[in-house]
Symmetry: C2
Subunit: 320 residues, 2 copies
């Protein structure tokens, strides 16, 4: 993976997706090499033209001499590993270019699992040396926003006539979008969608970065230069303001928190659930001898959090 | 509350919704009196006529000499406590009937909070002696299904022409629906919707209870007798098969589990998050000296689950 071998990269991502027992150790051994890739998140409803836009961004990155890895995330798809026809076709266009890596990721199990696997896959592509990593998610639900927003620059794609969708989701989208793309900008209703986007952005909190709206026609390769330049400009803004380091630190912190929460929900909870004491408390609730909150409180007495037990010895060992 | 005073009932529900510090103690002191109410869950997309159906059920219950409490749950509404115009109008129809209690519950904060508050409100109405408790939820998303399915009988309401919605949600709906209502059954497309529902039910797992489809025209009070009889028949089936006791035990068990999980996410996690050890681990991850999973694993070392610490002495004390 560290040598950038695409086969090794694909294999490790597959093992991480499947939660293979030793995959954790592999990721641990390459993590020190992460932190250089620039991560782009792209989200939007089905049919807005994300795939074509991403294809255009791949060409822009290659023209700029940058290697690029793409993770096409579809929470509604059970497929993974590039098995989807559309992705195969996309991949063929770059099949002989070692500087391009494209992979589909579907929800094999739970959505939480997909978000976790995607975060790990970003680390793998980062460690493998891809200069740009694109995370493309289908849909505009909360989970897709969560995945797409785990990026350095988050791009939200809309098309003319999507006024209602924008209204419904404006709170969530306003918070995460660094750049809006109005794709199919020659279609009817484009002016109106543009205006409603603009007025929505005016209502949002004013910041140092004015969220731009880039008009594209990705199918005709129109506007892709402008989009690429806007991404470069956003990156420069983040680097110069120090926001990039803050964003990345916050992202890693959130990743640790997510894994700790998961550990509490699995390992720690499991230790309680299998105990006869837990069963006895539940029995007494079912018998209406105590109420659920009282029972839960009792069960939580079995858990003791003592941060002083956290070992700090391995701190800094990192590259082990 | 135990004397069935509607004002006391409303006040306790409000205190539980607001997570008032002593509300927990009030619920604890009345929980022993729960377990007699029959809980109906009713869900369906906006506009299918749930309110009118529920109004019809209220009349059916009253005609049968049964008191009835209605919790109208709307996750999209910030309003609570019967402040919604529509609910006020509904309530007026039964304003002078002490055997009817109607209350709106909106999402003041998080959805999880609403589900939790609704479960507690059911206990309050149960302890207050209402023979029937109806939980009506707007919408057909996962959270609405979760709330509606915490019932003895779950009723899913559809209208003609909702084929697509049914298709999208069929997995979730098939699992929870005990009774389907095809409301506005005189509208165009009713035959087709009925057939698609029937074929969907045929594809589902065969059980002892054949999920019936009741056709209604709630606005004209047509089909409400049949719906009421179907509910009575489902209740008899659950009681005779022993499934009712199992269902209620499973529901209380899930409620305890949910509260334990919440406690782990709040109190236990909090104890870790504020510690200097946690901050040190996160710093080492941000410095890429260790990977997030390794960091999370380290932090979880600070948590010790020892079920033997669970005190069982208060078991059976209940009515305290």
């Amino acid at each position: 993976v560290l040598a950038g071998n695409p086969r090794a990269v694909a294999q490790l991502i597959t093992r991480l997706e499947r939660d293979a027992p030793d995959a954790f150790l592999s990721l641990k051994s390459i993590f020190h090499a992460t932190g250089t890739a620039y991560v782009l998140g792209i989200t939007g409803a089905p049919g807005v033209g994300k795939s074509t836009l991403v294809d255009g961004l791949v060409r822009q990155a290659r023209a700029a001499g940058l290697s690029i890895g793409v993770l096409a995330v579809d929470p509604s798809s059970p497929f993974t590993g590039g098995a989807i026809l559309g992705d195969r076709i996309r991949m063929q266009g770059h099949a002989h270019d070692a500087g391009v890596f494209i992979r589909s990721m579907g929800a094999r199990g739970q959505l939480g699992g997909l978000a976790r696997a995607t975060r790990k896959a970003i680390h793998v592509l980062d460690a493998a040396g891809y200069a740009i990593v694109v995370v493309e998610t289908v849909g505009v639900g909360q989970s897709e926003l969560d995945i797409a927003s785990a990026a350095d620059s988050t791009i939200v794609v809309v098309t003319p006539g999507m006024g209602d969708t924008i209204q419904t989701l404006k709170a969530g989208i306003l918070e995460i979008a660094d750049i809006f793309v109005l794709n199919k900008a020659d279609q009817e209703g484009a002016r109106q969608t543009l205006r409603s986007l603009q007025s929505m952005l005016h209502m949002g909190p004013a910041g140092d970065w004015d969220v731009p709206i880039v008009e594209t026609r990705a199918h005709d390769a129109v506007g892709l230069d402008a989009l690429w330049e806007t991404i470069v400009r956003h990156r420069a803004y983040l680097e110069e303001s120090g926001a990039l380091a803050d964003r990345r630190a916050a992202r890693l912190k959130a990743e640790v928190l997510n894994l700790v929460e998961r550990g509490l929900r699995t390992d720690i909870l499991e230790a309680l659930l299998v105990s006869p004491e837990y069963a006895a408390v539940v029995r007494s609730v079912v018998a209406r001898a105590r109420d659920p909150e009282d029972g839960a409180h009792e069960i939580l007495q079995g858990v003791d959090a003592r941060p002083e037990r956290i070992l700090l010895e391995s701190q800094g060992a990192g590259n082990a």
